[in-house]
């Protein structure tokens, strides 16, 4: 292999540290049963945080629900965002600005306003208090991010590569697998991770639309502030699925089909 230049390695180290340092601090906090302020390290180590984290028994269910909802919302957002981003990215629309603003609207309106109205409509439509309802609720938050990220990947460049594939005798399926997906893979991966993260951390809509269905942020948020140790313990667990999502997609992006 070629020796990686110093800069790349320094960059890798910096990224690694940026990830590891907050995690390390969380890790110490999570196991600190006694930690009075001026001390650099805790006086007592223990598992109180984790015991409290799993105290209710709903924590495992909450993480499971959140993973299902995040995967569902992300998959749906990719399916809907893909054509939208293609049409926008290839500038095939006469008024892309209008579509763009419409898509970004959920990001511009304060979440409180959308949240209350959303709950009301979900109740009327009788899709409230279910995982399916949660997927749709999260979709409204996830979709704009996914489209905005996909937009960066879809452009005339991809169309040009696809045209090349067509003239070289690639069938539509092969074109998708050999040309389109690999050339947008990094963007697709970024959109997937971002979509997953946005869904994963939805507090307001999870509570309002879920009607009490256990979800990961609902378990974690109440502890932030009042109980730093339990919050840290839950946070350690909380970051695992997003990190897994990151690793899986990063791998998928770097070794395409």
């Amino acid at each position: 292999m070629v020796r990686r230049p110093l800069l790349a390695r320094a960059g890798g180290l910096a990224i690694g540290l940026a990830f590891a340092l907050p995690l390390a601090i969380l890790g110490v906090r999570a196991f600190a049963d006694t930690w009075r302020a001026p001390a650099l390290v805790p006086q007592d180590w223990g598992l109180r945080g984790f015991e409290a984290a799993f105290g209710g028994g709903a924590t495992v269910e909450a993480f499971g629900n959140s993973i299902v909802v995040a995967l569902g919302a992300t998959a749906l957002a990719l399916a809907l965002g893909w054509p939208a981003a293609r049409v926008l990215g290839e500038r095939r629309l006469r008024r892309p600005g209008v579509v763009f603003v419409a898509l970004a609207m959920p990001l511009l309106v304060p979440p409180y306003a959308t949240g209350a109205g959303l709950t009301e409509w979900f109740i009327r439509l009788r899709i409230i208090d279910s995982l399916g309802g949660l997927v749709l609720a999260h979709l409204t938050a996830v979709l704009p991010y996914v489209v905005l990220v996909l937009l960066a990947g879809f452009g005339t460049k991809v169309t040009e590569l696809e045209d090349m594939g067509r003239t070289l005798g690639l069938s539509p399926a092969r074109r998708l697998a050999w040309v389109t997906l690999p050339s947008v893979a990094p963007t697709l991966a970024a959109a997937t991770v971002l979509g997953f993260l946005v869904s994963w951390s939805q507090y307001g809509s999870s509570l309002a639309v879920g009607g009490g269905l256990p979800m990961a942020p609902l378990v974690l948020f109440p502890f932030i502030g009042p109980d730093p140790q339990t919050a840290a313990a839950l946070s350690l667990l909380y970051v695992i699925p997003p990190i897994l999502a990151l690793l899986v997609t990063a791998r998928a992006a770097s070794s395409p089909l």
């Binding site: 600190a32 049963d33 006694t34 930690w35 009075r36 302020a37 001026p38 805790p42 006086q43 007592d44 109180r48 409290a52 105290g55 209710g56 028994g57 709903a58 409180y112 209350a116 709950t119 009301e120 409509w121 109740i123 009327r124 409230i128 208090d129 507090y203 307001g204 509570l207 309002a208 009607g211 009490g212 609902l218 378990v219 948020f221 109440p222 502890f223 932030i224 502030g225 009042p226 109980d227 140790q229 339990t230």
Partner: protein
């Protein structure tokens, strides 16, 4: 007691308030609860509750209270044939929001919120909008152990309860000192001033509108009246930590200062806070609680049932359980929670009272809060905070 969650932020409360005003304006003629046919006796309610799943929306940030609900209340409910689920929320206003959304969507039954732990502004806003089930509290069998003449129980931040919420928990404002450093703390306002003249800089309180700091100011106001209280706080200021130039931003910050030995006193609106902080390793084991002045500022927090709740019978069974001598005694047990009971122990028959009498004396939990001071009306909280900022913080 955990009014913190109720008053943690002003914004959601304001949002709830405006939403309820809207409701009151447009939905005045509909009244789902009064028309609902109600079973005659609690036995019928208990029968209807069998197999129901009650979703109890409550602040989820205290692992000890969570554990009490999970380990004590949920099994007791199961025995009564009700499946109880705890829905942890970071802000109680979120639960009220959900009820409002259901109301606005035109649903009068089947609501996802069966039971809410609340008090203060959230209760008042919901009552104003007619969100709560009415007239069920006194019919609960365990209501007979409650003294409904106690003004701290029939008024919630001076809003009449009117049978729309059942008392569950009690908060009292207490201070703490380290008995190894300071054997006898100053127990009156005058003594505290005197103590600080001798030991300047050894006291501070979180700056309102922090919940704890705001409660401290109300405690002083309740004890001596608003104008005298502000004169006192002005006198206190130059003797405080860092000459009163800066204040801690939160109770956590004050706890750290106390734990580091930079000040001699901590404070909280949670009666059992010393037990909790010793338990989680923040305070030294020699820490002891005490009440400043004649009596502590207290408030009661309640459980209420939205009138559109899907499982009203089950919710009433749970509310009744929460008021049972057995569960209240366990909650008062310092080993478990150490939260003062809302029951009038005198009314509990001797055969049921045993548990209260047997309660261990814990050095971390007060059993007597003196001549307790009723909370001020919720509406007076913000003006007081503004006056404090004007006269004490900026020193106009």
């Amino acid at each position: 007691m955990r009014a913190r969650s109720q008053l943690r932020t002003t914004l959601p409360a304001l949002a709830v308030l405006s939403a309820t005003l809207l409701l009151a304006a447009c939905g005045g003629d509909e009244d789902g609860s009064a028309e609902t046919e109600r079973p005659d006796s609690f036995a019928e309610i208990a029968g209807a509750a069998q197999g129901q799943t009650v979703r109890w929306w409550m602040d989820g940030g205290d692992d000890r209270i969570n554990a009490y609900v999970d380990d004590v209340v949920i099994p007791a409910a199961r025995e009564a044939g009700v499946r109880l689920e705890r829905v942890p929320v970071g802000d109680t206003a979120d639960a009220v929001q959900r009820v409002i959304a259901q109301r606005r969507a035109g649903r009068e039954s089947g609501g996802a919120v069966d039971l809410i732990w609340l008090n203060g502004e959230n209760f008042a806003a919901g009552k104003e909008a007619g969100l709560w089930l009415e007239g069920w509290v006194r019919d609960l069998p365990n209501a007979r152990f409650v003294d409904f003449d106690d003004p701290t129980i029939v008024n919630d931040f001076q809003v009449p309860v009117d049978g729309q919420e059942a008392p569950w928990s009690r908060a009292a404002f207490a201070l703490a000192h380290d008995s190894e450093e300071l054997a006898e703390p100053p127990r009156t306002y005058a003594a505290l001033l005197e103590y600080l003249r001798r030991n300047p800089g050894r006291f501070t309180y979180p700056a309102p509108p922090d919940f704890t700091g705001s409660a401290f100011v109300r405690q002083v106001v309740a004890a001596m009246g608003e104008d005298r209280a502000f004169a006192y706080l002005r006198e206190l200021k130059p003797l405080m930590y860092r000459d009163g130039e800066t204040f801690p931003e939160s109770a956590d910050e004050l706890n750290d200062l106390f734990a580091n030995g930079q000040v001699d006193f901590a404070m909280s609106y949670e009666a059992n806070f010393v037990a909790a902080e010793v338990d989680n390793g923040t305070f030294p084991q020699s820490t002891r609680p005490f009440v400043l002045g004649e009596g502590a500022l207290v408030n009661v927090s309640y459980v209420t049932i939205p009138s559109d709740a899907a499982n009203q019978a089950g919710a009433q069974v749970v509310a009744n359980l929460l008021m049972s001598p057995e569960l209240q005694a366990q909650k008062a047990d310092p080993e478990i929670l150490g939260i003062p009971t809302v029951l009038d122990v005198e009314r509990v028959p001797p055969d049921l009272r045993g548990r209260f009498d047997e309660l261990d004396e814990s050095p971390y939990v007060l059993s007597d809060f003196g001549q307790v001071e009723q909370e001020l009306p919720a509406s007076s909280v913000e003006p007081l905070e503004q006056r404090w900022e004007r006269e004490i913080l900026r020193g106009d």
